[in-house]
């Protein structure tokens, strides 16, 4: 019993260490890939970013709309309906934008990365590349990783913008908050550091989500079931990591802010 726990723990440590080494390996290849295979990165930004736009914008619109509704009905008790813009902007910029985008990104782009790479492994395409003296890390993994890292902050920014638009739609057009008060309150309370917090968060989440997707795909057991398992694990582990990291970054940011 204890022995099993001990071995599970050791196995966890080993995987964790291997993940770090894998990350370093990716980082080392980034400059070369940037110079020699720039077009591959462009394609992956398209795959991870442009193709996720529809889901991110739709979700952003409705999340913003819900913030508008909830904020309005709760703030109305204090006669502070005008602050609904501030409420929505704070939630979107600092928390919901980066976090929800990262979760959607894991579901939309992360799974497709993991299953694509996993299938390449299952069908021995990665070994074939090695035979042709093509480094699969540089040809396959790094462009996909970089594509995700570049796309994530932009997706989060788009999410926040569309969310604000949704909150505006519900708050101003539907519930009759004054448009001037809505924006004036946002501008009066939100500072550059709040926007930066969101950008830093989305950047970190982009690294985590892309790294985990590429890692799970690359280490998938080369069977149909193995690829499916890798896809599932990508979403689950990314969600856990993103939420834990979100808590940690917020804690640090709040301590720095005061």
């Amino acid at each position: 019993m204890f022995r099993e726990i001990w071995y599970t723990f050791l196995e966890f440590l080993r995987t964790f260490g291997a993940l770090q080494l894998f990350f370093l390996q990716l980082l080392r290849s980034i400059p070369i890939v940037f110079v020699r295979r720039f077009r591959l990165i462009v394609h992956q930004v398209y795959n991870a970013g442009a193709l996720s736009l529809v889901i991110v914008m739709t979700c952003g619109l409705f999340v913003g709309g819900v913030l508008g509704l909830q904020g309005h009905s709760n703030l109305a008790r204090f006669n502070a309906e005008d602050s609904v813009g501030t409420f929505a902007a704070f939630s979107l910029l600092k928390e919901l934008g980066p976090v929800v985008t990262a979760l959607l990104f894991a579901g939309r782009a992360g799974t497709s990365l993991a299953s694509e790479i996993g299938l390449m492994r299952a069908t021995d395409q990665l070994s074939a590349m090695e035979m042709m003296a093509t480094n699969p890390v540089r040809r396959v993994l790094v462009p996909r990783f970089l594509g995700g890292v570049i796309a994530m902050p932009m997706l989060a920014a788009v999410f926040s913008c569309v969310g604000l638009f949704g909150a505006h739609l519900v708050g101003v057009n539907l519930l009759g908050v004054d448009a001037g008060a809505f924006w004036q309150q946002i501008q009066a309370t939100i500072g550059p550091e709040d926007v930066w917090e969101g950008i830093i968060k989305s950047f970190v989440f982009g690294i985590v989500a892309s790294l985990l997707a590429v890692w799970e795909g690359y280490n998938a057991i080369p069977t149909a079931a193995g690829v499916g398992r890798a896809t599932t694990r990508t979403v689950v582990i990314t969600a856990i990591c993103v939420l834990i990291l979100d808590f940690m970054i917020t804690a640090v940011a709040i301590n720095f802010g005061d």
Binding site: R39, V42, H43, V45, Y46, G49, A50, L53, A89, L93, I150, A151, P153, M154, L155, A157, V158, S160, C161, L164, W183, I186, Q187, A188, T189, I190, G191, P192, D194, V195, G198, I199
Partner: protein, 158 residues
């Protein structure tokens, strides 16, 4: 080849959209500084009580923001609070005997410094100190003052 072109086009559009969104967030949601990089000069003032005045709180004259609070600290020797604030250099004709008070925006809003012009011919400049100040109104003090004064008038009536 056609497909490559459309992918690259899509990527370009996506990146433009992303940068546009970032630009929108940084410029439209943050109030930014109305001072925005203008030259400023630094003035200080002493208050018995600053209430909940924070860094970056606005300094306003006739309701228009002309500066920002840079530092709020406690002077351990003279036992009062020192507030250091910056004022936009284009407003360099503020009389030296102006009066600084800590006011509240709205009933529960954040606090700011309001300047009332004095009549002196000497103007505030970098490093000078505002002599006439009025502390923040603390709600509890106000309430207790009201309670005690009404209690006192009752006693007078008898």
């Amino acid at each position: 080849m056609q497909q490559t072109r459309s992918v690259e086009l899509g990527t370009g559009l996506f990146v433009l959209l992303g940068i546009g969104a970032l630009f929108f967030l940084t410029t439209q949601t943050t109030g930014g500084d109305p001072l925005g990089g203008n030259e400023t000069y630094t003035v200080s003032a002493r208050f018995d009580n600053v209430g909940s005045l924070k860094n970056r709180a606005p300094v306003a004259m006739s309701g228009v923001t002309i500066g920002r609070v840079r530092e709020v600290r406690f002077d351990g020797e003279r036992l009062n609070a020192v507030v250091v604030f910056e004022i936009d250099s284009q407003y360099d004709k503020i009389p030296e005997d102006s009066d600084a008070s800590i006011l509240t925006a709205g009933l529960l809003g954040s606090q700011y410094i309001g300047l009332q012009p004095g009549g002196s011919d000497i103007y505030l400049e970098d490093g000078s100190e505002v002599m006439f100040t009025q502390s923040a109104v603390v709600l509890e003090n106000l309430i207790s003052k009201y309670l005690f004064s009404s209690g006192g008038s009752d006693a007078d009536d008898e």
